[in-house]
Symmetry: C2
Subunit: 348 residues, 2 copies
């Protein structure tokens, strides 16, 4: 399994990221030794995916402490630099969550913060494996098919997480149980995480799939070509409303019309009880150039503007189940109490 | 206004098509003097858009008759070649309709067939102008805003028709009446007719707009950023179910959820009473390479397959109104009788 994030101690302490903007053509690694490079890597999507951002945030605190020692920052400077990491992207709750998981331990020293950061990484992978087992159980209990055909959007595999994957993890688990049919992977414009990353992982894992335009998702669902939609999440509000890659809510609307399940898979750290409803989630709007061109070539005429929201919000009544490692919330009916129970059981 | 299709008599009889695969970067024309070149141009989308295909089909019969004379084809060969034009793409009813409009007049000679073909072209533009007036009236009667914000998908302007446009024509008409707000143009993967062609026409016509990823359409609608969705049609079944560019049904589902109108604009020739329901419409599946790459570069890893339906079907209950030059059918309630009345009034 590919690793999106690793901590290396030699030749010097660093976070090694696989550069996801270059995949699938080029497998290049970025060795991050400063906060500046880390913040830039997060902003440029060298590393992306909500759970992966959580681990990156936690390890980022250790990295900042090491840099602070080398460059003799005072405490205020160090805090400012850690805030920059935390705020490098606004929508995924996990980035701030990862930073906050270890920040309180800073008085106990760099080694302890690093140990906790690596624990966040390990626990994320363990959580993904657990939620994938639970998710596969849920799917097989709700879809009466020998081989379950799945549609997914964006990338939620090993690359998006600290390992194994969330929505992708459930797909992988169904595959390992011999219960997976064809997978439809939306290409996920503008940055093509589906065409570039999900298909790369599916190919690597020997899973039958096809890539389709995002605009085909609704009709693929309505034509009866899939049995379930499984997506990840960047932030889940207390009522179950879920922010995820733009396009997700379109799948949810089509699933409702088709009468098939639409499920969200995410570690419990993605649930943000401080946010009551989806309307309160800040939606990152990215640079218009992403949607006005591709691979260096402009597609729209010069002078035309673009609108480029990176996420959308799926209302909880369209979500059949939120699958976490701690439990499953069927948000159409029981959102708040279920999610509260899940979060209350969270470690750390 | 740009012309997608023109008939030229000198230096020799030909159909001149603007090559829409090269826009907006390059304005190049293809001079078509043989059936082979015409069939290839239709298949390659040098000319596209349901109404434009109608005119192309009609003029194509005249072109085939001229080639038959020059190359001494017998009657059977000529019929075969005309069938090839008619069948060059399967989903848009207009192509076959255009061929059939003039085919019965072949015994009256090439000049008469050409005259009728040019009449199809002229009547298409006149129909577009009329349906645009009716459509703008309908929108202004149903949207209580001084400036109506519109979302559209694919290209339905002068390039997609014999002139003026269908859904685009309504947008243009609202603009001319001073009642148009911002237009959201979906980029329309895989071939980017929205980013390349619609934005080119909007820019040319001085209409404020932004291009967005297709996957943003649902959330743009749900967030209350638009007041109405207006699309074209490639084939409308007798019950009002409408085949249009893949992605259209996603807009319709979001409009239903948001409680805003979703309207289909097309000349009455797009209504096909021989097709009872959407399920019976043949959906063209195009080459997978279109979705596996982007602007000449491959996006998905080698070895991955693609699924590339070019159209989808919007069920009639999601359509607030079908706007034609002959009348308006509010298909959620009155589909069949309304559409029958519209088609019964059709000329030619």
């Amino acid at each position: 399994m590919v690793r999106a994030i690793e901590w290396l101690d030699v030749p010097r302490p660093m976070i090694r990221l696989i550069d996801q903007t270059l995949l699938p053509d080029t497998e290049r690694y970025v060795d991050v030794t400063t906060v500046d490079v880390l913040v830039e890597a997060i902003g440029d999507l060298v590393v992306r995916g909500a759970p992966a951002l959580g681990s990156t945030g936690a390890l980022g605190v250790a990295l900042a402490m090491i840099q602070a020692g080398e460059e003799s920052w005072d405490a205020a400077r160090l805090e400012t630099e850690i805030d920059r990491i935390r705020d490098a992207r606004p929508t995924a709750v996990n980035l701030a969550w990862g930073v906050n998981q270890v920040r309180g331990s800073m008085p106990r020293g760099t080694a302890e913060v690093l140990r906790l950061g690596l624990q966040v990484l390990a626990e994320d992978e363990a959580a993904n494996r657990e939620l994938s087992r639970r998710g596969a159980d849920w799917v097989l209990a709700h879809v009466e098919k020998q081989e379950v055909r799945v549609i997914t959007h964006c990338n939620t595999g090993a690359l998006a997480t600290s390992g194994w994957g969330t929505a992708y993890g459930i797909i992988h688990e169904l595959h390992d149980r011999g219960r997976l049919g064809l997978v439809y992977a939306d290409e996920t414009r503008p940055l093509l995480q589906g065409a570039r990353l999900t298909s790369w992982e599916l190919l690597h894992d020997g899973i039958d799939h096809v890539v389709q335009a995002d605009s085909a998702a609704a009709s693929t669902i309505l034509r009866g070509l899939v049995d379930v939609a499984i997506i990840g999440a960047d932030r889940i509000a207390a009522n179950g409303d879920t922010a995820n890659k733009v396009g997700s809510v379109g799948l949810a609307l089509a699933c409702q019309r088709a009468g098939i399940p639409f499920i969200v898979a995410a570690p419990s750290s993605t649930v943000d009880l401080t946010i009551a409803r989806g309307e309160d989630i800040v939606i990152e709007e990215r640079c218009e150039d992403e949607v006005l061109g591709f691979a260096g070539s402009r597609t729209a005429p010069t002078g035309v503007g673009g609108f480029n929201p990176a996420f959308d919000v799926t209302p909880h009544d369209l979500i059949s189940a939120v699958i976490t490692e701690r439990g499953i919330a069927e948000t159409a009916t029981q959102a708040h109490p279920d999610l509260l129970a899940i979060v209350a059981g969270r470690r750390g």
